[in-house]
């Protein structure tokens, strides 16, 4: 009940909790509002595959619905899916998870992230994360009562996070290190050696590592390293991933958490009170993806790679220095030479040339001076977008 002092009628917004009011709105939203009111926009803004889910996966789900698979499932996820997932993680990452108590199927990796934070954080606990990083990390930690602690990463160091920097950010309040590589928004991939050094820091200070590896299937010319597979790290790593990116299944909302059984049990407890279970048809689709989605997934990766090269080479050619992304589907060009802020650049580019990119500062202060360009877009559109950006740059260079 809200106490009314008698002076003033409570407004609906007064009912909203302070910790929610305190959250910064996603910096990306404003651009999408602008964008949706315009015609002829080429969007390099949305971080989503531009493939529809492979037909055999869709067909399996349609068939399941026809056969009457319309009920709840076990809270942790259908046993068949967990079993298949355990097999998949063994073959992909050489790591053995018990499908009975070390795996949890979640509503996308987003839910897994939220559950992880709620399961491990007490008020005031700190979680170390990189800057820039995926926009939801910060919010998930704050909503769970924790405090996000940012460790800067730089273009000069390939946007990899350094173990020393993490170590200096550790306090007696630090509960976990949250890393997300291959990274959104930079496309950076961490080397095994650098991850190993982080694992040593984690062990030395007794902190949990939460590794969001949603983009791990999308790497180009480099092998992604599964953090939990590093020597001795399985018991102190919570491994999060999902189906959205690898199998073009964003709308199905299926992800998972793999980790020590006590943490998975804690997350499952919250999951069963709040979500109950992931929709059964999505779980059946995900099972099919694991069983026979590999070929389609590889084809998509090859296609992304071609477009990655067109995008990155093109950006450099039009005069925007660009760190070479080795993963995900983002390029993160440096726009500091234009003299504009990230937001100024993105807004002008959208209104003048109808190309939508996401200002880098939406991902943290260290993203200032960069914009995120997603190349999960048709090649023709990427080329047209680059032409428009070139025109934009030469126009603003003259001023």
């Amino acid at each position: 009940m809200l106490v009314n002092s008698g002076q003033k009628q409570a407004q609906p917004k007064d009912f909203v909790a302070k910790k929610v009011n305190g959250l910064a709105p996603s910096g990306i939203r404003r651009f999408f509002d602008l964008l949706s009111s315009m015609d002829g926009v080429i969007s390099l803004g949305i971080g989503e595959p531009d493939f529809t889910t492979p037909w055999h996966i869709r067909e399996t789900a349609i068939d399941a619905i026809k056969k009457g698979y319309t009920m709840y499932t076990s809270n942790a996820g259908m046993p068949e899916l967990r079993k298949e997932l355990a097999r998949y993680l063994m073959s992909e990452s050489k790591i053995n998870y018990d499908p009975d108590d070390e795996l949890l199927i979640t509503v996308g990796v987003s839910e897994a992230l939220d559950l992880a934070m709620r399961a491990i954080l007490d008020p005031g606990d700190e979680v170390i994360m990189t800057d820039p990083c995926y926009v939801a990390y910060d919010a998930c930690v704050s909503l769970a009562g924790g405090i996000p602690v940012k460790v800067p990463t730089t273009e000069e160091r390939g946007f990899e996070v350094e173990a020393d920097d993490i170590e200096s950010a550790i306090t007696d309040k630090t509960k976990a290190i949250l890393i997300g590589y291959p990274a959104n928004p930079t496309g950076a991939v961490m080397s095994r050696e650098k991850l190993r050094r982080i694992s040593e820091v984690a062990k030395r200070h007794n902190v949990l590592v939460i590794s969001d590896e949603i983009y791990s299937k999308l790497t180009y010319g480099v092998e992604p390293v599964c953090f939990a597979s590093l020597p001795g790290m399985k018991e102190s790593t919570l491994y999060l991933s999902g189906f959205s990116k690898a199998f073009a299944m964003t709308g199905w909302r299926v992800g998972f958490a793999a980790g020590p059984k006590d943490i998975i049990a804690a997350m499952t407890k919250i999951h069963q009170y709040t979500i109950m279970c992931v929709p059964i048809m999505s779980q059946i689709a995900a099972t099919e993806a694991l069983k026979s989605g590999e070929a389609a997934s590889l084809e998509m990766v090859q296609d992304y790679n071609r477009r990655r090269l067109i995008m990155v080479t093109g950006l450099k050619e039009i005069g925007l220095p660009c760190f070479e992304p080795k993963g995900a589907f983002y390029a993160f060009p440096n726009i500091k030479g234009t003299g504009m802020t990230s937001e100024g650049f993105a807004e002008k580019l959208l209104t003048e040339e109808k190309v939508a990119v996401v200002p880098g500062n939406a991902f943290g202060a260290c993203g200032e001076g960069y914009v995120r360009c997603c190349y999960a877009t048709a090649t023709d559109e990427i080329i047209e977008a680059l032409d428009r950006m070139q025109r934009f740059l030469s126009k603003h260079r003259k001023r």
Binding site: S26, I28, R29, F32, L35, S36, I46, G47, E48, D50, T52, Y134, V135, A136, N305, R306, L309, I310, T313, G314, T379, I383
Partner: protein, 160 residues
């Protein structure tokens, strides 16, 4: 690397040497050279456009003709097939396993045109024992392209 170039071109014959060079990491000169070589040795047969002629009101009649052959002394199937594939009307000629020996795909302006070709040209070839003409009623998919109802990317506006 040639295979990668061919994969790119098969998907989009308009891809420029410059684009292909970027996508493969080769120089433009190398790409041009490999493509020219592939054209010369007929690895690349032709650059083709898949068209839905219905859209512009152009009537086309297609038929799949099964052809049974009588093996002839000293003349294999290849020689009979050649007499068939030399006709410019035939778009595709395959030797197949099963009930018939050849499948011939032809496109014409009318059923009569195709009937004439079958009765006057095809059936008259020595060694052709029987023809089974099957007219195409509707084309759903051509060369991997769904003709009507191709899916568009139905991205919804969302924030991340």
């Amino acid at each position: 690397m040639l295979k990668e170039i061919l994969r790119i071109l098969e998907n989009d014959p308009r891809a420029s040497p410059k684009q292909i060079a970027i996508m493969t990491g080769l120089s433009q000169d190398e790409v041009v050279k490999l493509i020219q070589q592939a054209e010369k040795d007929r690895t690349i047969l032709r650059y083709k456009t898949v068209i839905n002629w219905d859209k512009v009101g152009e009537e086309q009649v297609w038929a799949l003709i099964g052809v049974k052959l009588t093996p002839q002394k000293d003349v294999g199937f290849d020689s009979i097939a050649e007499q068939i594939y030399r006709f410019p009307q035939t778009r595709t000629v395959y030797l197949i396993s099963g009930n018939v020996d050849l499948i011939v795909i032809i496109a014409g302006k009318s059923a009569r045109e195709i009937a004439n070709f079958v009765s006057e040209k095809l059936a008259a070839i020595e060694g052709v024992q029987e023809t089974i003409t099957q007219f195409v009623l509707k084309r759903y998919k051509e060369d991997g392209e769904i003709i009507d109802g191709k899916e568009e990317i139905k991205r919804q506006p969302m924030v991340f």
